[in-house]
Symmetry: C2
Subunit: 411 residues, 2 copies
């Protein structure tokens, strides 16, 4: 197969980084989990906004407790009781105290909280204090937790549950995030039949596999996915399907069969779409070389290789990071759910100038993980679930020796 415009992985990474981000929309924080911030967020107010007790005890003037001990306790008059959630109703003068719960507002006059454990209630209006406290003890000053105007989150952050909690705590009810990409998936291939086709299938047919994991991975990086119908290897029908899908979607992913014919169709269909440009046709990665990306400046058109393992690798290597990038994330290549360090079980050679992705199975030996490269024949789908992850061999190295420490991207 001839490739029209082969890019190295670093050229593709630069290209994807140059794409404009999707529009910004405002969402309530209840719906912002996993969304990508389109702006820096600064604290609109200090937290706490009042002097807050961090222990149950008594608000006091620290100087009144200096020198206090078991044998010579300080005697203080109780002049009030701070209630949770309420402003204090008393002011602490010399040798006075007010009971206060953790989280309560420290009354004026007091500059420390003495823990309840170091006090004894003598009568309803008197306590003995057995230990001295220093000014500021067990008090959180206004802004000590979060200072007003400080940077909370940077644009491009994928919001986590605890981020939503922090936003709520600061009274931020909505955030500006990038729109979710809408992805249409078109499946083609004369040999591909719908997954609901009952077996035994006719000789030569296989069910649609790729569209399903492509859809799942797109969802995992925040895209909204529409699954199109299967279409046969017909250039006109494919052209029509691309044009239709582009009406509703930001991204169209063509999941082709593995025949030579369909690969050629994909390129020609992409070339003939109105105002389209081929951004690349061929990437210096293995597997996944026959990947195509085209655009008409409104919609991106991806053509993926037909082999299931190749298509899966291209999703991790390129398409998922791309979908994150247009949502405003500064993505890592490849997309990674989690990584683990492992010892490589056998030598994996590679070729200079090409990035290799090698599926591996992880096996625990003692307290170490061992990564065993797995290989299979072209078109095998069992590799999809046999592999726990993959390792990448960068373009400027010639492989890894047995026993090398490698980073495994879990899939």
């Amino acid at each position: 197969m001839e490739f029209l415009k082969v890019l190295s992985i670093s050229e593709v990474i630069n290209l994807i980084g140059s794409f404009p981000k999707l529009d910004i929309e405002v969402v309530p924080i209840e719906e912002a989990l996993g969304r990508v911030l389109a702006e820096n967020i600064y604290a609109p107010e200090p937290v706490p906004h009042f002097r807050r007790a961090t222990m149950d005890g008594y608000a006091v003037r620290a100087r009144d407790t200096f020198g206090a001990s078991e044998s010579m306790p300080a005697l203080l008059e109780i002049v009030g009781s701070v209630e949770m959630g309420k402003a204090p109703t008393c002011v602490i003068g010399p040798n006075q105290a007010a009971s206060i719960p953790t989280g309560g507002a420290v009354p004026d006059g007091a500059d420390a909280v003495v823990m309840v454990e170091y006090t004894t209630l003598i009568d309803e209006s008197t306590i003995e204090v057995y230990r001295p406290v220093a000014p500021g003890d067990h008090i959180m000053a206004p802004g000590e937790d979060i200072s007003e105007g400080s940077l909370l989150f940077e644009a491009g952050r994928i919001l986590k549950p605890q981020d939503i909690g922090t936003l709520a705590g600061l009274g931020i009810t909505e955030v500006r995030v990038h729109r979710k990409p809408r992805v249409g998936i078109i499946s083609t291939g004369d040999e591909i039949v719908d997954h609901a086709t009952k077996g035994p299938l006719p000789v030569g047919s296989v069910r649609n596999v790729n569209s399903f994991f492509i859809a799942g991975l797109c969802q995992e990086v925040g895209a909204q996915v529409g699954m199109g119908t299967l279409i046969s290897d017909n250039k006109e029908i494919l052209h029509e399907a691309c044009i239709n899908s582009a009406k509703y979607n930001d991204v169209v992913i063509l999941s082709g069969g593995s025949s030579v014919g369909i690969r050629d169709f994909t390129l020609r269909v992409f070339q003939e779409l109105p105002e389209s440009r081929i951004l690349f046709h061929g990437v210096a990665i293995k597997p996944g070389k026959p990947t195509i990306l085209a655009t008409n400046n409104k919609t991106y058109f991806w053509g993926l290789p037909g082999q299931p393992t190749s298509a899966l690798i291209v999703m991790f290597a390129l398409v998922c990071p791309f979908l994150l990038a247009i949502q405003g994330v500064n993505p890592s290549f490849p997309f990674s759910k989690a990584v683990i360090e492992a010892n490589l079980a056998s030598r994996v050679p590679s070729v200079h100038g090409r990035e290799d992705y090698v599926p591996v199975k992880l096996v625990k030996q003692g307290d170490k993980w061992v990564a065993r490269p797995i290989f299979g024949k072209s078109g095998m789908i069992s590799l999809l679930t046999k592999a726990d992850g993959f390792i990448t061999i960068p373009e400027h190295t010639e492989g890894f020796e047995e026993g090398s420490i490698v980073i495994v991207n879990l899939i």
Copy 2:
């Protein structure tokens, strides 16, 4: 504070493991991403179900190519052309061949595929073959990818994108999974005000933080979450709210304020719910000791500590694994999105008989990660986002020395 029934972390883990799983429902595979299989799945048919070519070339009888070389090619008659997705229309006899694409069905009579690279088309009905092939070369036998009846996935597996692809490939259109837990969150606390309350807040008030990250974490482990309104520290209202929430939910999480009063209320309200039992009141973990779990055999009632960091840790340590367990997963404790190995930046002491969770910040030094324990005053919410993860100090150890290799659970 007195604890009624303190359990060790291993007792809680055993207890949670004994809970019945949620009902089973049938979902189409398009909606099964992230769901938990309720049954083992076996391959209903072999993959491939026909002899499939794994290279573009010619289907031949291997014996007809024995001894073939550049100088003495084998001359074969082309008797057909296999089309993608179609049953072959020819049979290969002695010294015959049929062109075949990758993925095509190998015709009867042929026992190998010779790669197109090692052939020359002499005329429209004749090829020269330059290299011998062995029987089986470049053919995937029926069942070689997945054998009929083999175990594909075990019950308890959380379905990944590539699993959905494999199910599709085998014509499995629906799967039996455990129902998603329905979780109701009740927020209480006299000092807590709605997150939408505009600042500056009255002295003593804080906005609701915990309900938001609790909701987000529940969603991340597959639960459907309903967020209740805020209620004040009133035992009768709390009782009523628990009873109402239990009508619609499998799990009710009470996210309390941090006052002493509300903690006592929670226990008493749980005790007084019809037919309820307190499963534990107090867990030997730090932070998070004042966690309560009760049940009326239909609904679980969790009472979480009010401190944001404590509540977050309890979600990771106990509630998320619990939500996975009742969905049929054999969960790990604590719940972990991803882990990373790091060197501990400073000594962290602990106490025998208690499991400690220490928030850490990760810093890259050279090619190693260093985990710096972070501490903060009670009630700080900035820790929620300052921490990259946490380390656990098991109940039977007394802490870690500076420089120890620790496993950091990313949050």
